[in-house]
Symmetry: C2
Subunit: 281 residues, 2 copies
């Protein structure tokens, strides 16, 4: 049995950076450092970090806090001032690509544009960008959602970093029908798209796909969907114990991929277990 | 026989304004006022203006000049300074929509954008905008032409006022693939599109289409093409004398349209002649 791994499986740049920052903070100040919300949507990583003494809080009034880690999704600017007011240290692990989107939303607001954020309004990253875009900014997920928006003459656009290029182009096209000045900051980070394309290509070549990552991780779930859309038998698991020997009966080629919040060690553990299963065949 | 006229036939706003300015200038200073290039692409109008004492020059060193009329297409900024150096009075009949495109090209240049002008590089309007866009600006007519352009991270777009929305959107879409900041000034003037759509709709309803306007007028020629594409028998004429009685044999419904540089009196003269032909039938 051959095992293939997608080239871009696992942590994206921003997640890797945030995790490194969090573990470094844990080493420096055990039990006084907290993450505001789960550092990433992967319970195994959150647990590992908790084992090192960095726990999750939902509210900065909880716990015996000395330092607060801002996770990769970022937060609204008011949260920084609230933390400062409390006298806590801020450890900022906001993804630099998200920071970029926040900064450009702020520029557009200050320069008098009607700000449109293309993304999912329930996503913490979008909520953080919205904090910089001002109270009049609008979050739009699709061209259809744009229909109910009264566009002004001068419109500025930023996108959630995981947005699909095609969706951004569709919204830009619609805006150009009426807007006189349209300023688009292309704040998309390619890594989502690259990972999805790699998963799609691998799924075409193998008999079964194992997608490793948190069940609550939207981007990992999406990878499993993509592999299934190809028509390949696909299993989404968090840990090696979930693997079943019968999935590999009569199978020649296995593909393995992981989401942006899936650590390498989790992917490697799954691969090792598949190798063991193969040996027993 | 029924005669139908498209709602938007004839002079667009910018042409009407330029013609009014030119005739007003003729009344004020006969024989000392010149237009730099033909005021519009309609020989009958150019002749009428010449009869009033305003002739065309190609070069500001020709003629016994006191005043120079800048036609609706506009000119490069150097031309203004050259005229001023000569001590001539400038009568600026540049279309306000073209002025708008020039002004925005200038803003983009000054704010450090790589300026792209979407349009026909041979058209005088585009040449005038290019004068404001700086020496590094690029004129692009199509997505294909963009392939050979090395796009920078910060790109600004203005469009020739007669550009088609679909072409602008295609180029914007292509730019968004690599550009990080794209600032689009939608400088398209709707009148071209509105006139073309009205011609298309009328051509569908009638048995024969008469398109009135200068043979050198690109926009009038395009109206005739559009009517022919519908499959309607179409004739492009400049003056009523070109009409032939046999065109209307057995015809129930006639459509009449005119380009942006076709004066109302030219269209009306054609309609009167068609009515005479109808009476004789």
């Amino acid at each position: 049995m051959n095992i293939f791994i997608t080239k871009n499986a696992g942590f994206c740049f921003g997640v890797k950076r945030a995790i490194n920052i969090a573990f470094k903070a844990a080493a420096e100040d055990k039990n006084g450092t907290y993450t505001l919300g789960p550092i990433i949507h992967n319970p195994q990583v959150v647990q590992k970090l908790a084992d090192e003494g960095v726990k999750e809080i939902e509210d900065i009034n909880q716990g015996n806090i000395r330092s607060i880690i801002i996770r990769s999704h970022g937060v609204r600017p008011e949260v920084y001032s609230d933390i400062k007011t409390k006298g806590y240290r801020i450890i900022d692990a906001t993804c630099p690509f998200v920071k970029n989107a926040q900064r450009h939303a702020d520029i557009l607001k200050k320069e008098g544009y009607q700000v449109i954020i293309i993304g999912d309004k329930e996503h913490p990253e979008v909520k953080s960008i919205l904090g910089y875009a001002g109270s009049k900014a609008i979050v739009v997920g699709s061209v259809e959602a744009l229909q109910s928006v009264k566009l002004r003459k001068k419109v500025g656009i930023v996108a959630q970093t995981t947005q699909h290029y095609g969706n951004v182009v569709s919204i830009v096209r619609e805006c150009l029908k009426t807007v006189r000045e349209l300023r688009v900051f292309n704040t998309i980070c390619d890594s989502t798209h690259v990972r999805q394309e790699a998963t799609k290509e691998l799924a075409k070549k193998v008999d079964v796909m194992i997608v490793v990552g948190g069940r609550c991780s939207a981007n990992t779930g999406r990878l499993a969907e993509i592999a299934r859309e190809i028509g390949t038998e696909t299993y989404h698991i968090e840990v090696p114990d979930e693997l079943r020997e019968e999935w590999f009966d009569g199978i020649e080629n296995v593909g393995v991929t992981g989401g942006a919040s899936t650590p390498d060690w989790a992917i490697n553990a799954v691969i090792e277990r598949i190798k063991e299963i193969n040996k027993r065949r």
